[in-house]
Subunit: 191 residues, 2 copies
């Protein structure tokens, strides 16, 4: 997605050889027009699938997932990283490691937010090692739901996330695929 | 906003006399069509103001803020409750108490995401004691930005948040105002 690749190149900040900070348009400040187009693009890529629900993980995934939900006209569920007082009772839960934050989070979805009839498109802002997506897949498996596919805004293709997910037989679509970050330059794969 | 009041009555779950759980349509599962209308309604209520940016707080505020950002065609910034590895450098920070989660969070916004030229509409999902909104106002004050107003999805009018904010001279618009929760029934104020 050219508009997104341009935003990453022009407005992202490279940190070392593995991190590109996109908090100027994606996960701190959010470019609403770009996110709207991201939602539309996910719809174009997955509209052949019978998607009944979109699932993501707080907080970075909420905006692209919501825009995809708007395009599909389906509800969006975001997994929480911390149980709140109002989240009593039965939840599906998985422990997920964040390399960016260097912490384990307990990722939870209330049981009454998922059903075995759901065909779920998983959306997230980043795919690197695939920890978050794998955790969500396990939660969907617990609910008996079908994974319709995984839509990622920015994939770090030099990390093993995509391979891990494809080995589970799941279709992964990433709107921008970073092949390499080196000497302050970003190289994209054709997606 | 009638559509919202109906959702609260029909799809919310009352817990005791102070909490209504809305995770079936607002802050866990999100009804995308309802959220779109919420964004439009915020735009109708504040379109007379020169809004350049919308600011909210993760995670519950992101969806209504994003939909308002779409309606205003302005960027949305969400304050983070935890510093991430990629969030180095100068940040504005305030300590905010959450009555729902019974914890203090350090709420932060990167300095380069706000400017003294910004006219900021604050959006949040709930207003109860006004802690989160007051924290965001202090952050905006640090940045020298102008607070254009505060838009709230659900106000608990029996708690002191609105009064605290209005005493600061700030316009508060809430799309649903809960006067009272009693014996499993919700009474709304006319907004």
């Amino acid at each position: 997605m050219e508009m997104l690749e341009n935003a990453i190149k022009d407005r992202g900040t490279i940190i070392g050889d593995t991190i590109v900070k996109v908090d100027s348009f994606l996960n701190h400040e959010m470019d609403t027009a770009l996110l709207y187009e991201i939602g539309q693009e996910f719809h174009r890529m997955f509209k052949g699938k019978p998607v009944t629900k979109i699932v993501t993980i707080e907080a970075g995934g909420i905006a692209p997932a919501l825009m995809a939900g708007l395009a599909f006209n389906v509800p969006v569920v975001y997994a929480k990283k911390q149980k709140s007082l109002t989240m009593k009772g039965d939840v599906y839960s998985e422990s997920v490691y964040s390399f960016t934050k260097q912490v384990y989070s307990n990722v939870t979805i209330s049981k009454d937010r998922l059903s075995a009839d759901d065909h779920v498109l998983i959306i997230d802002d980043f795919l690197a090692n695939g920890e978050a997506a794998a955790g969500l897949i396990n939660i969907l498996k617990q609910a008996g739901a079908t994974v319709a596919g995984i839509g990622i805004v920015i994939e770090k293709s030099f990390q093993p996330g995509r391979t891990r997910l494809e080995e589970k037989g799941i279709e992964v679509v990433s709107l921008a695929r970073i092949a390499k970050i080196s000497a302050g330059q970003i190289e994209f794969l054709k997606s």
